[in-house]
Point group: C2
Chain length 161, copies 2
Amino acid sequence: MEVRDATEQDWPQIWSLMQPVLAVGDTYAFPPDASEQDARVWWTGKPFGRVFVATLDGVVVGTAELHPNGLGPGVHVANAGFMVDPRRRGAGIGRALGEHVLAEARRDGYSAMQFNAVVATNRGAIALWESLGFAIIATIPEAFRHPTEGLVGLHLMHRTL
Amino acid sequence: MEVRDATEQDWPQIWSLMQPVLAVGDTYAFPPDASEQDARVWWTGKPFGRVFVATLDGVVVGTAELHPNGLGPGVHVANAGFMVDPRRRGAGIGRALGEHVLAEARRDGYSAMQFNAVVATNRGAIALWESLGFAIIATIPEAFRHPTEGLVGLHLMHRTL
């Protein structure tokens, strides 16, 4: 597996794994039926953002994005998002992306990283982030309408870098 | 004092109070030297956002914006921002805006409101939000570079509606 900065040419493959992840609607506070253009702006258009892909044999199997959680006086804290091809779950792709993004965030000079909305039912993601040094510092109650579980909490997760 | 929905015509007056608030750099994770256009997109351009003004004798003395904190499965939780003309502090403008925005958020069907980044040194704002029913549910450590206090925390504040 290779993890590298994404290029314009990667977008169609990023979208092909992102669209089904969004459609399920159980991990991101973003419209399950988002248009390709809206999703592209959301994932790749954040101020000072970077986008990464994980590839296997040249095929994009996961993506991540890294950006400052705030600007100006808040620009030293990073935020990031991650998606793995649903057909490739459990293969260590999320962990490889997570380790790469943490290293790049450190190189870029961020002093901490926070995730604002980790769905409380997303146990795989929570376990991964805890194993990578993140802690849940708050749970926003009933902040996410899960497609099958109803209203569930969103965790704020944080770690220093 | 009147609090009402903002119009296009209000923008120059909104900017004239926003620019000095941003320039001090002690309340918002946004560039102190932001351009008028960037500030306008930030304050008025959020998906499904609404903008309000407080006026005294027809002059804009404060502004607020209300928008969903997330989209799709997170669209039922509101987020909001508030600014008062620095020359008019202590006159109840923030409270009037806060009460108005809470009422409008309820009318719009939101079930809760959260603030993601209340600067821990901003004691006036914290006291106001606590008096309006918000609780601090987390403090993100050293997430804000205060112009005179150094690195300070950012509070996540929340209330149901």
